[in-house]
């Protein structure tokens, strides 16, 4: 069973003095997934990721990566080869050029000769830094440094990526670029665990999410399940005619739970509990009853609303 799991933790606990940063966490991430970790600041996300990257020793509990036990010493070079970790502060060396920096890490991971050169060019192209390869790192912008950090993380072709707040402090364009790179990596079959506060980004990238609070993993499910369970279907309706007539028609449908008039006065946001077929049925009935509809837009509540609705706001 563990073989298809990229990450499995057993009762993973980390304590700093009296403060329990990660408490009895049983995390399971399937191979090939993009797993999003969300939670308020101080919930234990960074500590959990650091333990998975073997840069922090667990107080108790065990970590298995692809079925192998992760231990913090130099006895597991193969496991180390499979992990790529990008912390939120991505420290770099200012005295090196972009090329020399990546070349150094490629050599640390034992990439040889032509394969190394090819990989360097591929990675530089992926993170769009090819033109900057002979520039000193100290001259790069924050976004470029972030991308260089990511390039360092993937230089050795890891199969598991651990990204801690990778888009914090980036402008919208840099964030978009970063998202595109992650999608490309996912396409290559990497398992990615990513923590972020930008929930719209996670909703776009992830296949599963986990919610952390007070050091506990309080929720861990596929995005699909989460939506099914917690997200309500909403329909935006706009009419050219009388809004009251539309409301009257809606009252006849038992699957319509409640509605809210949108600011412009000609549209309603309706909470609808039916299936896709039932929403088609509703549309047909509205058209047949002569309502001059200009918009019938079915959508789901987004990840942010679900997260806020769950009320996980406590830090540990």
């Amino acid at each position: 069973m563990t073989n298809e799991l990229a990450i499995a933790t057993k009762r993973l606990t980390k304590q700093f003095d009296r403060h329990i940063a990660v408490n009895d966490v049983e995390l399971e991430v399937k191979s090939g997934e993009v797993y999003g970790l969300i939670g308020p600041n101080g919930a234990g996300k960074t500590t959990l990721i650091r333990m998975l990257a073997a840069t922090e020793e667990p107080t108790a509990g065990e970590i298995y990566l692809y079925g192998d036990r992760l231990v913090r010493d130099d006895t597991n070079p193969r496991l180390k080869q499979s992990i790529g970790y990008l912390p939120d502060d991505f420290p770099l060396y200012d005295d090196l050029t972009v090329w020399d920096y990546l070349d150094y890490f490629a050599r640390l991971y034992k990439l040889k000769d032509s394969r190394r050169r090819r990989r360097l060019y591929d990675v530089l192209e992926l993170v769009e830094l090819t033109t900057k390869r002979y520039s000193a790192i100290s001259t790069l912008s924050r976004g470029m440094k972030q991308r260089l950090g990511l390039a360092r993380t993937i230089i050795h072709e890891p199969i598991l990526l651990l990204l801690d707040e990778p888009v914090s402090g980036l402008d919208p364009i840099a964030r978009l670029q970063f998202r595109e790179i992650i999608k490309a990596l996912q396409g290559n079959g990497m398992t990615i665990l990513i923590s972020s506060h930008v929930l719209s980004d996670l909703a776009e990238l992830c296949s599963s999410v986990g919610i952390m609070e007070l050091g506990y993993l309080v929720e861990s499910a596929s995005l699909e399940q989460l939506y099914q369970r917690l997200s309500k279907q909403q329909i935006i309706l706009s009419t050219l005619g009388d809004l009251e007539a539309l409301k009257r028609e809606l009252k006849h449908n038992s699957l319509v739970e409640e509605w809210e008039v949108l600011p412009e006065g000609k549209s309603l946001r309706v909470n609808f509990s039916g299936t896709t077929e039932e929403s088609a049925q509703l549309l047909r009935s509205l058209v047949e009853s002569g309502i001059p509809l200009t918009q019938f837009n079915s959508q789901r509540e987004d990840l942010e609303s679900i997260f806020l609705k769950l009320g996980h706001k406590q830090v540990s």
Binding site: Q15, F16, D17, R18, I20, A53, A54, T55, E57, T59, A60, R72, D73, D74, P77, R78, K80, Q81, I83, Y85, P87, D89, P91, L92, Y93, D95, L96, T97, W99, D100, D103, Y104, F105, R107, L108, Y109, K110, K112, D113, R117, Y134, R152, L214
Partner: protein, 567 residues
């Protein structure tokens, strides 16, 4: 533009040791190389010109004048040739000069200058580099790579001081040529370089360890390391230049690469004309009665063995610490081996004659160095506060295969408190010292006095060690600084007070029994006084031990309570 990746030897070097290549790429830039070359050239020119200026010149020559580099008889006392000899003039009217002596001076002092430069500056560079990597967090990425700690750290040693190596390498031709002109055989010059390299390996490894150990004074560490090395080199140069060998401290001379120079000066066959590093001073040093230093190969071999042994132990700490920065520097098992190696080597230099006064002085110095080494060892095996807390709380959760009795855990365990292990180290050193005392040529009553002194010394170390472990368990983040300050106060203050009030060991021996040098008091104290002070010290150990146990128990309990309340 900078397609360095195409040069084959760089490629090969990088494959062999990526860390070394990284250091070279970051440092060997044209501007830096030029600066290093200019510094080396100017330094050598100034050095050479200074010695040129020391030569006697015809300008100031009178019939009565004398000089170190003249060739006549000694003046005024013919035995003190090195103070100056009468200057003679040849048929062409030139002052005759003892060029061999001049070259020897140039060789010896440029070598000593090189030792200072290499060790002090190199130590600073390595500690500063590693502290920076540690504080910025870049070292995490290196730790995560599949490279071995050995490859990374040797890359650091070879690469970080690369500009310093360049400065030194440019100075080697002058040094080597002056050595040859002084009549020193090539083999000996090369063996001195060998000793210097071994010395660098030892001090640089120690520097890396200092860089990897966190004790709350990150910015201060490089200075601490460099100043410590500087003071050591100054003291050792002073001791060796002024024939102060023949004590337990001779062990320290084995760490000073300049000790090798004795043989080189001797090989130049200039005898009493030289006036420093005289071979007869080194030859008085005995090790278990053997005159190891009287032969150049056995002497240099012993120096290399000692440097190699301690470099090996430092590397054990480095390898442990590199991959797990919160582990103790040494395991308990290693601490037993280290105290064993230490006592065997240092005791060899003590108890070498039946001269009571000399023997006691030697033993006092040996016990003092034992105290320092054991306190350092306590710091190296004392677990982190968090580790102790986890040990107290989660020891019961360890799987049945790994579980062992509390006693075994305290003797061998990685995470258990260190006091019992320190007691075992002391048992080892005291046992061996007592055995050597029995076999020593001292009189029976002197043996008993020395034996009591050794026992009191051991207990006092245990008191200090237990206090250190207790303080390292404090909650404040600066506990390492507090513990060192407290120990510093405990060790130095009592002796300082005794010195200020002018109290002598023969007046109030019991006061000395409670200081860091109880041997001073043991010489004059009555047996009852010694036993009474031992009783007091054991009481103190029991008290500190009881306090520690209580705190550990409380740490284990209170967390469970905290967990329940959190749920």
């Amino acid at each position: 533009m900078k397609k360095t990746e195409n040069i084959w030897w760089i490629d090969k070097l990088g494959d062999w040791n990526p860390q070394l290549l990284r250091e070279i790429k970051g440092r060997l830039k044209t501007r830096n190389i030029a600066i290093a070359a200019i510094i080396s050239a100017i330094g050598q020119i100034l050095f050479f010109l200074y010695y040129q200026g020391q030569l006697p010149s015809l300008l100031h020559w009178t019939k009565a004048s004398s000089d170190r580099y003249c060739t006549g008889f000694g003046y005024p006392d013919s035995h003190q040739l090195h103070y100056g000899r009468k200057c003679l003039v040849d048929s062409l009217g030139q002052v005759q000069i003892d060029w061999q002596l001049w070259w020897l001076d140039l060789f010896v002092w440029s070598s000593i200058f090189g030792i200072f430069l290499l060790l002090v500056v190199g130590t600073y560079m390595l500690v500063a580099d590693l502290s920076k990597e540690e504080s910025r967090g870049t070292i995490e990425f290196i730790r995560m790579s599949p490279q071995s700690a050995k490859s990374i750290l040797s890359g650091k040693i070879l690469g970080v001081p690369i500009l310093l190596y360049l400065v030194i390498a440019l100075g080697v031709p002058l040094n080597f040529a002056s050595g040859l002109n002084a009549g020193i055989p090539i083999g000996l010059i090369l063996s001195f370089y060998g000793v210097l390299i071994a010395g660098c390996a030892f001090f640089y490894s120690a520097a890396l360890l200092l860089g990897l150990v966190n004790f709350g004074l990150a910015g201060f560490k490089p200075w601490l390391g460099a100043v410590a090395v500087l003071v050591f080199l100054f003291v050792m140069t002073g001791i060796l230049m002024h024939d102060s060998l023949g004590y337990a401290t001779d062990w320290l001379a084995l760490f000073y690469p300049g000790t090798g120079l004795f043989y080189l000066v001797d090989a130049a066959s200039l005898d009493s004309k030289v006036g420093y590093l005289e071979f007869k001073d080194l030859a008085v040093s005995l090790w278990y009665g053997k005159s190891l230093f009287s032969n150049s190969w056995s002497g240099i071999g012993f120096i290399l063995f000692n440097l190699g042994l301690w470099t090996y132990w430092i590397w054990q700490g480095l390898l442990r610490r590199f991959h797990n920065p919160i582990s103790t520097v040494l395991s308990k098992q290693q601490s037993y081996w280290i105290s064993g190696s230490f006592i065997i080597i240092t005791l060899g230099f003590t108890l070498q004659s039946d001269n009571r006064y000399g023997e006691f002085q030697s033993l006092i110095l040996q016990q003092l160095s034992l105290l320092i080494v054991l306190l350092l060892l306590t710091a190296a095996i004392a677990p982190h506060r968090q580790t102790l807390l986890d040990w107290a709380r989660y020891r019961h959760q360890v799987s049945p295969q790994q579980r062992r009795s509390l006693l075994k855990d305290l003797i061998w365990g990685e995470k258990s408190p260190s006091t019992l292990a320190l007691a075992l180290c002391l048992l080892l050193t005291t046992g061996y010292t007592s055995l050597c005392l029995m076999l020593s040529p001292l009189a029976k009553t002197d043996k008993m006095t020395a034996f009591y002194g050794v026992i009191v010394s051991a207990t006092i170390v245990l008191v200090y060690g237990a206090i250190a472990q207790l303080m390292l368990f404090m909650k404040t983040p600066k506990r390492a600084v507090w513990a060192s300050t407290a120990l510093g106060a405990l060790t130095i203050l009592p002796l300082l007070c005794l010195a200020i009030f002018g109290i002598n060991p023969n007046d109030k021996p019991w006061m000395f029994l409670l200081s860091m040098m109880p041997m001073l008091g043991a010489e004059y104290a009555a047996t009852q006084t010694i036993l009474l002070s031992l009783l007091g010290q054991w009481l103190a150990i029991a008290l500190v031990g009881f306090q520690m146990t209580k705190q550990l128990q409380k740490a284990g309990e209170s967390e469970t309570k905290a967990l329940f309340s959190a749920r």
